[in-house]
Assembly symmetry: C2
Homo-oligomer: 428 residues x 2
């Protein structure tokens, strides 16, 4: 395979993408019709080989790490790039987890008979070829490859150039496992060049790529959204809201807000703005802000908030639009339920919002009236995750409304077709 | 409304589309949360008004017809443009039919609990704003408006300029009915200019339009596919296949082929290529070709076919790629099941294919191995239609694999969201 990769490397990027997408399409015909057992054997084998080749993976990763150090890349970047034996073990466990999930293909989604006598069934099928564009996080190579394999889709991977050695090694590892169970190796391919033009060509390969999933920060995602002519499953940002409404349980409100903001501040499901109903703000805000400040969170409030918490910074218009991805929270006191909904519908990125209240009527109205991928009552927004949703794993979270919305797992990487069983019916 | 339309007409097309999409978005917030009862009342009212205003509709249509005659447009075009009292009645009945279908919104699509204690539910929601671009068939105005209304979506309609008076009249009629039930009129809008640039702007209005449905011939659809930056539900063509396999019932094979080709030759579900298994070709082809020729169908065959039917024209490579939409059928004798599948996967447009056989094993393999939106056994491809599928009505048929595939009815014009009910859960 390495020899082949070397040959492809000399092609123009247009020819290279042509070649990779053609190979992916051919491989997918077989993969899409393969039994779940075969796909699971390949996944189990991948997990086994990841564990067996742990040292070699670390060695490949070492090449990337030393390049990164030479380039003096920031330590947070190097940390994401680095694979430790523990992280390698986590990757393997993730693949085993995906293997154990039910088959997303061939499921009867619905079934009915019509007057003409035809029996109609809608069943799940694979999508085709999926392109994954990601930053230098080597584990995405495995996650994305495994989820595509599970769902019978060919994967074309394009990781950050700084993880090139690690990603190449992991891709070849997966290809060997495919080959081991007699599935075509080109069901999982990596673009063997760091030329950025290859990404542009991939993003415009209409008819050759069925969907692109960008996984990374806002600059990566916005670039993909801008250039892509093929469909994209993505979210640009997660400006998630907690709304503490009338009849909120004080302790629950405090705990959920603290968790939603501070458990991990850098994930897309982290809360960025707290809305608190005027009717409960004087009672609840002091305790909640205490907890947040103690946990090291910077608070920014509107004028009403600063009447209660005079020492915090003023939040301006910009703050309501900002995904901090950091230990910063903007806080606003809202007049009532309607103004809370209005604020959310204006500033939310359509990712995840949660209401805290014991009032069932308000809770149900919130679930109906907020138009986000995930709407919650009395729970932390940090639950917005495919794993927490019981999907086994996710390739990302989508805020678009077409096809996939919310966590994108194996089920969301499928399409469907109509199967119609007749008995000689002709149409009048 | 007419006064407002006149004011919009003076805007630049960019401002016009900005205005229309903004209004559509505002209207949709209310429409998407309206009760099924209200949406159905509006639909029933539309049907009622169509019947009551039949004469006025004919009069508006007369303006378009006389323009078409002045322009000496072809008679087939004029026929599609023309509304008779009978066709008007059909339009009304279509709307009533849509009204009677179950609510596509707020359906529980799935529901499960996870270990953390959260109760998760996936429910159907409206999509947003849908743009419909169509040719001069006034009934599409009503079909599209009614399906969007049913599914809680705002519609922005753009019909062929030659049906401008009829479409305007019908759009205003629907707007009055929306207003009658206190739904916002701008839930159904028409682009009030025949400037083609407006279509281009609409097709690129990312974030302002959620999906575009082109409805018309190949030139319209390919233009839309080429220019659009927003998602499109469409099929470029319907190169549908019938495969008469081993153990086909001779009479069934003849009847289905005749129906699939000749019932209506101009629809996308019409069969364009007949594949017949070598093992049954000598027995079955003479009868089938007789019936087709008698019905006025031109036959074109490969060399093997012409050994059996020496008088027919030769089919060349071009024929396998051609959607005739006419009384012409290309016929090929295939060596076996595998070569039939190979031919279909190479030449099919992914719309609808049907196998004729009494062999259950072959039938099931066909259903699995053919990757088209609709795959059938022992039935005419002309059943590929939302109405025949029991969907009430369709806005079109999609051959893409994302979101909507096959007939696009009210259910396919929905999205979904995750509703998560918690009890104070925070994430570990």
């Amino acid at each position: 395979m390495s020899q082949l990769n070397n040959a492809i490397k000399d092609l123009s990027v247009v020819d290279m993408i042509d070649y990779l997408t053609y190979e992916a399409r051919q491989a997918q015909v077989l993969l899409g019709q393969s039994s779940h057992l075969i796909r699971c054997s390949a996944l189990t084998k991948i997990a086994e080989r990841i564990r067996a080749l742990s040292k070699q993976i670390v060695a490949a990763n070492q090449l990337d790490l030393s390049n990164a150090n030479d380039k003096q890349l920031p330590s947070s970047f190097v940390d994401r790039l680095k694979l430790t034996p523990e992280r390698i073990n986590d990757m393997a466990a993730g693949v085993e987890n995906i293997a154990q999930m039910p088959d997303p293909l061939g499921k009867t989604l619905s079934k009915w008979n019509v007057k003409s006598g035809l029996e109609i069934e809608r069943i799940s099928t694979s999508l085709g070829t999926i392109g994954i564009i990601y930053e230098s996080r080597p584990n995405v190579t495995i996650d994305a490859g495994a989820l595509c394999l599970k769902s019978g889709n060919s994967a074309i991977l394009r990781g950050g150039s700084d993880s090139f050695h690690t990603s190449s090694f992991l891709t070849e590892l997966m290809q060997e496992c495919l080959s081991y169970v007699k599935l075509p190796e080109s069901a999982i391919q990596m673009i063997p060049t760091s030329d950025r033009e290859a990404v542009n060509v991939l993003l415009q390969a209409t008819g050759k790529i069925d969907v692109i999933v960008p996984r990374g920060g806002k600059s990566l995602v916005s670039l993909v959204q801008e250039v892509a002519r093929v469909p994209v499953f993505s979210h640009l940002e997660g400006i998630c809201h907690i709304y503490i409404a009338e009849e909120a349980d004080p302790e629950m409100a405090r705990e959920i807000t603290l968790n939603a903001k501070m458990r991990r501040t850098g994930i897309c499901g982290a809360c960025e703005t707290l809305l608190i109903d005027k009717s409960v703000s004087r009672d609840l805000l002091p305790d909640i802000s205490d907890s947040l400040l103690k946990a090291g969170c910077e608070l920014r409030g509107d004028e009403e908030v600063r009447k209660i918490l005079p020492s915090i910074k003023k939040a301006d218009e910009e703050d309501w639009h900002t995904e901090y991805l950091d230990a910063i929270l903007s806080i606003k006191i809202v007049e009532n339920f309607e103004t809370a909904i209005e604020h959310i519908n204006k500033y939310s990125s359509g990712h995840t919002e949660s209401i805290i209240t014991q009032n069932k009527n308000l809770a149900e109205r919130f679930l109906t009236e907020v138009d986000s991928a995930i709407v919650m009552t009395n729970a932390s927004t940090q639950f917005a995750d495919g794993g927490e949703f019981g999907m086994g794993a996710e390739i990302g979270i989508a805020t678009g409304k077409l096809h996939a919305r919310g966590p994108v797992g194996a089920d969301q990487l499928t399409s469907f077709k109509y199967i119609v069983r007749g008995h000689g019916e002709t149409r009048k």
